[in-house]
């Protein structure tokens, strides 16, 4: 636990350093208004990273999050076109996203298929479904109602609703993971599935719940995304799942399961968010952005590996006289 905390501090420090570095050349970057923008821009990544983190905790991975987001976003846009009231749309995207997540989870649970295969498949199916729903057509800004587009941008106490949603999710899932039996079971199941079975936990069911959470968050983010950018089409958020997984890895979520925290996932997302926002400001090409994000992942994984090394040493202990 101490190592994780230290790691979180380290990452937070890296983020501050990054912001400080950019601010040294472009002081405008650290204006409160701009920092709010950066956070707001990163909110979808934070929401998905939290869901992904829970899935990874249970030794699974959800590659279908971005496709789920796109499908739910399109569903929201179409419902809006049919005149469905906004509260109902919000409820519907969360339920739809959760149901899509449940489809992943049930395949992993009941048929025992590896999650990477399941979600690679459903990822394509979800995108294909959007095409079937729309015939490839776009839903553009003028086809959306004003209220539909306005909600994520509405400002409360200096923060847009989208940021508030991210903050609420951080608080909610922090509590869930640290203060409820369900949260504890995610760690136990990922830490040692065999032992979890012998302790009376249902491993498959726990993994399925993780997928439902990840899916529901993707569904909600789908609405926020479509409403904020005021456009919905088959390929929105294409490839975004990789950024989500990257945020988790940078945030110190163990890819083998059983270790990680909400704070880590959020910091990982913020780190990528700051890079994505800062590099254009200091006029670095988007290709460099990819290289820099990639390097961050490699560094994070290296850090994880070196931190795990002392654990390997324990093997020697059995040889030593005790």
């Amino acid at each position: 636990m101490n190592i994780l905390k230290n790691r979180d501090v380290l990452l937070a420090f890296a983020i501050v350093l990054l912001i400080g570095g950019v601010a040294a050349r472009f002081p405008a970057f650290v204006r409160p208004g701009n920092l709010v923008n950066v956070f707001n821009d990163t909110s979808p990544l934070i929401l998905l990273a939290i869901g992904q983190m829970i899935v990874i905790l249970t030794k699974c991975i959800d590659l279908s999050v971005a496709a789920n987001l796109a499908l739910c976003g399109m569903a929201a846009a179409l419902m809006n076109g049919m005149g469905v009231p906004l509260p109902l749309i919000l409820l519907a995207v969360v339920l739809l996203g959760g149901a899509l997540g449940a489809a992943n989870g049930l395949l992993v649970w009941k048929l025992g298929i590896p999650s990477i295969v399941v979600t690679l498949g459903t990822m394509t199916i979800f995108r294909g479904t959007i095409f079937l729903m729309t015939g490839g057509a776009w839903v553009n800004a003028h086809q959306m109602s004003t209220a539909f587009k306005a909600l994520p941008r509405m400002v409360f106490l200096g923060l847009p609703v989208m940021s508030w949603v991210a903050l609420a999710a951080i608080a909610l899932f922090f509590m869930l993971l640290t203060r409820t039996p369900l949260g504890r079971s995610f760690y136990a199941v990922g830490g040692n599935p065999h032992a979890a079975v012998y302790t009376g936990l249902d491993v498959g069911r726990t993994q399925c719940i993780a997928f439902v959470i990840s899916g529901a968050l993707a569904g909600l983010t789908g609405y926020l995304w479509v409403a904020r950018y005021a456009v919905a089409y088959v390929d929105i958020a294409a490839g975004f799942e990789l950024q989500v997984v990257a945020a988790c890895v940078i945030g110190g979520i163990a890819i083998v399961g059983g270790a990680g925290s909400v704070i880590g996932a959020v910091l990982g997302a913020l780190f990528l968010g700051v890079i994505n926002n800062a590099l254009p400001v200091i006029r670095i090409s988007p290709f460099w952005q990819m290289a820099i994000s990639g390097s961050a992942i490699v560094i994070a994984v290296t850090l994880n590996a070196t931190q795990n090394r002392p654990k390997g040493r324990i093997i020697l202990k059995e040889v030593e006289p005790t």
Binding site: M1, T178, R179, T180, P181, G183, R184, Y187, A188, G191, N192, H194, A195, A196, V197, Y198, T199, G200, L201, D202, A254, G258, A259, K311, I314, L316, K317, E318, V319, E320, P321, T322
Partner: protein
């Protein structure tokens, strides 16, 4: 006779600990030398020195009068030292012949692997150790005993003169163990020097010619087996006389707690019926694979029997999941602690409270203070050695991890506790502690089932013993009838002597 291989004055230390201090070891051609010592005595370390994995800080390794230095495992292998470990390092997807020749396969004149020479050579090697196994079989299709044969054939393919067998019988059944003994005889006849590491005294006395005892990383003594008794060896190992290993107890056997009737499983066991009483320790003896663990796993809801009933106190219980078992008051401490018991990445206190969260929490939320209290209460009872309960479980030693696993189950306040091979692979000192603790639990009125394959343990601890063979209960003995002969005969299916 001159030894093939001599180690003198070997010292090896790790940060903070001297694993070996000035130890010696001699291995003679055509003889089996047993290396004896408690866990942590330095047995594994010396094996690693011998096979070039560790380099000692001091000391000499002499082979045929020449001083050698093993810089790595290849050096040792070239010098003719080979080790066969408990879990053999072989490849399931390759054939028997490919496994034997991997890394030094015979080549044909084009420099390519000569399949025919490989297959013939493998067949010859296997015949040499008394096996007519087909070299084209896929290794993954073989049983453990056959894999051992392949490992030994592989060792011989490098012309090894010194063979180290590191607890080779730990995972074998009765029949397979006897096949291994025959194999050791074959190797002896070929003039190999064999170092045999085992915890089991009966097999040491059966196959070893010489012994060497280590204690706490130091050399204690060596000699010929015929000049030593079991008691003397134990005394050398522990450095004190051990006359009474098992706690004396006066069992207070009460009312029946658990009644199992007509338990059937399509493939694992049939017609299992027994009653367990309050305050009783019921031993389950049998050979490996007799179905004992399978019955216990069914009682604990891991597998589902096709037929049968379980009654706890006076209520019939349906056990379909571990959750059902735990709420019925049955808990199971599995044999494979590392895999099935401990969650190494979680802190100690969270491991303890995992099945008790509904009790320590309130209103669907966890209460960490309560969890700490529960964990502290139960780990203290087991005399757990840990810096803090917040420490990751994986940082503890094996024995302490097991204490945590047992504490986890006691914290659920069970009626019946099932211990599957509770002392397997732990040293004599820790064994005594576990036995002491089992006696305490029974005295407090818990009903205890102990599955064990060690006859002294079964006889020393149980009030009653059930013997299983091939999935069925074949004998049940109490009191004076509990003799080693009777248990072994029942387990092996040998008729009473006339």
């Amino acid at each position: 006779m001159e030894p093939i291989l001599s180690l003198r004055g070997i010292s090896k230390s790790f940060p903070g600990v001297k694993a070996l201090q000035d130890v010696q070891l001699d291995l003679y051609p055509g003889q089996v030398t047993a290396l004896i010592g408690e866990n942590g005595a330095g047995k594994s370390t010396i094996v690693k020195v011998l096979t070039g994995i560790y380099q000692p800080e001091e000391g000499t390794i002499t082979m045929d009068g020449q001083d050698l230095h093993f810089a790595n495992a290849q050096d040792a292998s070239k010098a003719g030292v080979t080790a066969i470990h408990q879990e053999t390092v072989l490849f399931d997807e390759l054939t028997v012949a490919e496994n034997i020749w991997l890394g030094h396969a015979p080549r044909n004149r084009f420099g390519l692997i000569d399949k025919r020479a490989m297959r013939d050579g493998a067949r010859d090697l296997l015949l040499g150790i008394g096996s007519d196994m087909d070299p084209d079989l896929r290794l993954g299709d073989l049983g453990i005993a056959s894999k051992h044969l392949v490992a030994i054939a592989r060792a011989l393919s490098t012309d090894a003169r010194v063979v180290v067998l590191d607890e080779p019988t730990a995972a074998l059944s009765h029949k397979e163990i006897h096949e291994l003994y025959d194999l050791v005889e074959t190797l002896k006849a070929q003039g190999k020097a064999i170092l045999f590491i085992s915890h089991k005294f009966d097999e040491i006395f059966r196959i070893a010619d010489r012994y060497t005892v280590f204690r706490d990383g130091q050399f204690v003594g060596a000699g010929a087996m015929q000049d030593v008794t079991e008691g003397q060896l134990v005394q050398m190992m522990v450095g004190r006389a051990v006359d009474q290993i098992f706690p004396t107890r006066t069992p207070q056997i009460g009312a029946p707690v658990l009644t199992v009737a007509g338990y059937d499983h399509p493939t694992e066991f049939a017609d299992i019926r027994f009653t367990l009483h309050q305050g009783e320790i019921l031993g389950f003896y049998g050979l490996v694979g007799a179905g004992r663990s399978e019955v216990m796993q069914a009682l604990f809801g891991i597998t589902t029997p096709s037929k049968g009933a379980v009654r706890i106190d006076d209520k019939f219980r349906v056990i379909r999941s571990t959750h059902d078992a735990i709420s019925a008051g049955i808990v199971y401490v599995p044999e494979d602690r590392g895999r099935q018991g401990a969650i190494r990445g979680l802190p100690i206190f969270q491991n303890v409270t995992l099945p008790s969260l509904s009790r320590t929490g309130r209103g669907g939320f966890l209460r960490l203070a309560e969890e700490f209290k529960l964990a502290r209460d139960y780990t203290r009872r087991l005399d757990l050695r840990a810096a803090s309960l917040d420490q990751e479980l994986g940082l503890l030693s094996g024995g302490n991890q097991q204490k945590v696993v047992i504490a986890k189950w006691l914290a659920t306040k069970p009626r019946v506790i099932i211990l599957d091979e509770p002392t397997k692979g732990i040293d004599i000192g820790s064994k005594a502690a576990v036995h002491e603790f089992m006696a305490e639990l029974a005295a407090e009125g818990l009903a205890v089932i102990m599955v064990s394959s060690e006859i002294p343990e079964v006889l020393g601890m149980s009030d009653r013993v059930i013997v299983m063979r091939e999935g069925r209960i074949v004998d049940e003995v109490t009191g004076g009838a509990m003799t080693p002969e009777r248990l072994v005969r029942a387990a092996a299916g040998i008729a009473e002597a006339a």
